[in-house]
């Protein structure tokens, strides 16, 4: 009927068919073993949430209200013992090498009981993603090696991601804004390293982390073009913690102020700066800066999406339990149509949101940051090769300049702009849709439950408090809507649109 060329041309029009139906194209390409592995992760998450999280989470929340300085170190120790901080570290760095997309399902499961708990684990992988997406294999090896060692010794070694500043939140997530923003973290080049001054705010797990991935700027007035990414270790001279915030929810997971006063960071902990960029790319520092941000957020926003669905599901499950156990006018609540319809809607929100974050994961797997590890041959090699092999052959390579160059090239230079757009756009979509679903389901649960839902012991009020944060961090839902327009709509369908209103 139609010539192949015609078909091709028609399906590449906006909305480009393949980009809009990733599950159809990429589902079949998923390594079979990855599904089994993901099942294992979900089972493990379910066991963990029932055995560890559920018995503890309400008391933990209460404790953080009673004692504003409380930091849940013992919880982190427990998670460390269970191996949760190395599960998603690739094998070549000594981790257990579970596939990254499976982390989303873990987040959702644990988040459906307690988002604070889920963040205590999830944020660490945000820190890891930020290190990895900077492409420096030597530093990855060092930092992730510390995490693995921390698991063996029983001293948890977590990574935080520290980019927000007191006067720059939205600004540090988008280079056009970063270029105009009021930045405060300054990195001055000196012999052998940088001197870091300034502060970061709202850093999740700050007080609990050993390593912090920090962005600073060579020139505060030209932040977008002079970004320096460095690793700072807790205890380094000139680095201290300020207060940890008194938040509405997710109180199990502290948000900290990090303070740098003439903190010297040696060259070997500098992950990226405009000079290093020159060694592998001709693109401008600003473009690479945006690419890196997009890359990190393509992963982390899908992750926040899964937290959002955790919240949506938590609210649904609490409401369902209530409806199952309650009567109205002598009839079980679940026998009423209006109750069934509300619960159906909440359930649908959960599933629709899950599709959104899975779609974002698929984009990352096939067109973005996970593409290397998820190629079938590489996936199977790394899954089935014995650990010894990694230790003997792969790990030593990571210190080599070649490995560094290749990784940086792969992650920061070779990626196609259309793939960057697809991954960041879908991650933004998952982020704002899922978190909006989360808050909506909490609202519905509270309405359904009346005064019963207001009580702390019901769990319903807590998930409402917890869920609100999801609409704010990893880019406010406003920024994420703008980013979706910028990356999924504008390139093909609104090419003349300008961004960030000059």
């Amino acid at each position: 009927m139609l010539k192949r060329s015609e078909v091709k041309s028609l399906i590449s029009r906006f909305p480009r068919f393949e980009d809009n139906t990733l599950s159809m194209y990429y589902g079949p390409r998923m390594p079979k073993a990855m599904i089994k592995e993901t099942e294992e992760v979900v089972a493990l998450a379910r066991k963990f949430k029932e055995e560890v999280v559920r018995p503890l989470y309400l008391d933990l929340d209460r404790k953080t209200h009673e004692d504003l300085d409380y930091i849940p170190e013992e919880v982190v120790k427990k998670a460390n013992e269970l191996g949760l901080y190395t599960m998603w570290i690739p094998k070549m760095f000594g981790g257990k090498g579970y596939n990254m997309p499976s982390l989303s399902f873990f987040n959702e499961e644990v988040g459906s009981v307690c988002l604070g708990f889920a963040n205590l684990i999830g944020v660490h992988y945000l820190g890891m993603a930020a290190v990895m997406m900077l492409g420096n294999t030597r530093i990855m090896k060092k930092i992730l090696g510390d995490v693995v060692a921390g698991e063996k010794t029983g001293n948890p070694c977590l990574i935080s991601y520290a980019i927000t500043e007191p006067t720059a939140g939205t600004d540090v997530e988008e280079v056009d804004l970063e270029a105009r923003g009021r930045l405060v973290c300054h990195a001055r080049k000196v012999d052998g390293g940088y001197i870091l001054n300034g502060s970061k705010v709202f850093i999740s797990n700050g007080h609990l982390s050993t390593w912090h991935t920090v962005y600073a700027y060579g020139d505060l007035k030209r932040g977008a073009d002079t970004k320096v990414a460095l690793m700072v270790r807790t205890g380094m001279k000139g680095f201290s913690f300020g207060r940890h915030e008194n938040k509405m929810g997710q109180r199990a997971c502290p948000a900290s102020v990090l303070i740098f006063e003439d903190c010297f960071v040696p060259d070997e902990l500098v992950v990226l700066n405009p000079d290093l960029l020159k060694s592998f790319t001709k693109q401008s520092p600003r473009d690479i800066n945006m690419r890196h941000i997009d890359y990190v957020f393509s992963l982390s926003r899908a992750g926040v999406g899964s937290f959002g669905i955790g919240a949506a599901r938590g609210a649904f499950e609490i409401a369902l339990k209530y409806a199952n156990e309650t009567e109205i006018d002598g009839k079980p609540m679940v026998d009423y149509e209006w109750v069934q319809c509300r619960l159906a809607e909440m359930y649908a929100n959960v599933r629709l949101g899950r599709l959104a974050y899975m779609e974002s994961n698929l984009a990352n797997q096939h067109r973005g940051a996970y593409n290397l590890l998820q190629m079938k041959p590489i996936y199977y090699y790394s899954k089935y090769l014995p650990e010894m092999y990694f230790k003997m052959f792969v790990t030593p390579l990571l210190n080599s300049r070649m490995a560094n160059w290749l990784m940086s090239k792969w992650y920061l230079d070779w990626q196609k702009p259309e793939d960057q757009n697809l991954t960041t756009g879908l991650a933004s979509m998952a982020k704002f849709s899922c978190t909006d679903f989360g808050v909506r389901n909490c609202q519905m649960a509270l309405e359904l439950m009346g005064r019963a839902g207001l009580r702390h012991d019901s769990g319903a009020e807590k998930v409402l408090r917890d869920a609100k944060l999801l609409q704010i961090y990893e880019g406010t839902n406003q920024l994420n809507r703008i980013n979706l327009f910028k990356s999924l709509i504008s390139p093909q369908a609104s090419p003349r649109a300008a961004f960030f209103e000059e």
Partner: protein, 377 residues
């Protein structure tokens, strides 16, 4: 807005706003802290003495009981202004008014006479009430048994507002002789009353709420046996709109703080308020907030003028206001970004409080069904 319709309220309004700003505002954060619901008696007494002396706590109480005999408009005006600063206090005032209304609607003048004119301080004047409960919807209520000329009550009642503060409570209980429930006046200092610790709730933390258990507690019936439902409906019918007034006040506070903050905060080299999407969110908040005020004002007017449909106008507009409020307070947090999520600002408290207010006088879906039942009846 209410004062625009009713000029007589102006002097009250001035008193209430200066009271809220002067007496309540400095303590908002402190009263929101854990442990919740341990009312600082001195402060309450101090703060309340002022409005108490002015007669505001008896704003809808007839003059013969030492009230000032004002109508629903004055009540809404007061609750709204207080809620703009700290809605917990609106809950305290509302709860005491709900008890008053039950007593009045039951025609139990002897009880009003006994308590109000001679009340000495807030503990005696503010009568506890399960303000979040429509007793008709409760599956279990305490059981009252009648002796020769009095009753005793046994059983559990959850979520009693002011239960650990007040000397008296107005409580629903079932009796053997009637199908419907009845209301009783109970002395909360009676030996047979056990009170839980204050309940950790979502919002309105300054106002204590407890569960109580009663064991053979003597009680005085309010009105007639079995007529509780009738008194509650008479009360809630008129009082629904007061909960809307509280949420309208919360929305005003939220909008105000969002505007102030976004004017100050800069991102991308300009005040955040100058990003067009921020303006759009603010506009949506303003529309909802204004619409809510209109709902409250017009409902009060309908009640004052005794419009034929005022009952269901009241509940319909109230439910609508609650809906709007939950949206507004969510965006109110959003516009402050990360800071909105912190207790250093007022927005996270409003986010919690508005939902708590929404659940007053019964759950939302059941209130909706009650509305349509009234309409199609």
């Amino acid at each position: 807005m209410l004062t625009a319709l009713n000029k007589d309220l102006k002097p009250f309004e001035e008193l209430i706003t200066s009271f809220s700003k002067g007496e309540l505002k400095p303590h908002v954060e402190e009263h929101d802290r854990f442990p919740f619901g341990t009312l600082d008696v001195n402060l309450i007494e101090d703060a309340f003495r002022k409005i108490f002396d002015l007669g505001f706590l008896g704003i809808m109480l007839p003059e013969k009981f030492s009230g000032i005999g004002q109508g629903i408009s004055a009540m809404c005006m007061m609750l709204g202004h207080v809620a703009e600063v700290d809605a917990s206090y609106s809950l305290i005032i509302l709860t005491s008014s709900l008890s008053q209304q039950i007593i009045l609607n039951a025609g139990a003048e002897e009880i009003a006479e006994k308590i109000y004119p001679s009340a000495n301080g807030a503990r005696e004047y503010l009568i506890a009430f399960p303000s979040f409960t429509d007793p008709g919807q409760a599956t279990i209520l305490p059981q009252a048994s009648s002796g020769r000329n009095s009753y005793t009550i046994t059983g559990k009642l959850d979520y009693l507002v002011l239960g650990n503060f007040s000397n008296w409570a107005v409580l629903p209980a079932r009796t053997a002789g009637s199908k419907g429930y009845s209301f009783f006046l109970v002395n909360l200092n009676d030996q047979g009353v056990t009170k839980s610790d204050p309940i950790f709730s979502l919002g309105l933390h300054a106002c204590p709420i407890v569960d109580i258990a009663l064991d053979n507690v003597s009680a005085q019936i309010i009105g007639e046996e079995g007529q509780g439902q009738k008194y509650f409906e008479m009360t809630s019918r008129i009082m629904h709109v007061t909960t809307a007034a509280i949420n309208a006040g919360i929305m005003r506070g939220s909008l105000k703080e969002a505007i102030e903050y976004t004017k100050e905060r800069e991102q991308g080299g300009k005040a955040v308020i100058n990003w067009s999407e921020v303006r759009m969110l603010l506009a949506n908040m303003a529309i909802k907030s204004k619409a809510a005020e209109l709902c409250v004002t017009q409902t009060c007017k309908a009640i004052d003028e005794n419009l034929k449909d005022w009952g269901w106008i009241s509940i319909a507009s109230t439910l609508h206001v609650h809906d709007l409020a939950c949206d507004v307070v969510t965006d109110g947090v959003q516009l402050l970004g990360g800071y909105g999520y912190m207790k250093d600002y007022g927005q996270e408290k409003r986010y919690r409080d508005a939902r708590q207010v929404q659940a007053l006088l019964g759950s939302v879906p059941l209130k909706k069904l009650a509305l349509i039942n009234e309409h199609v009846a």
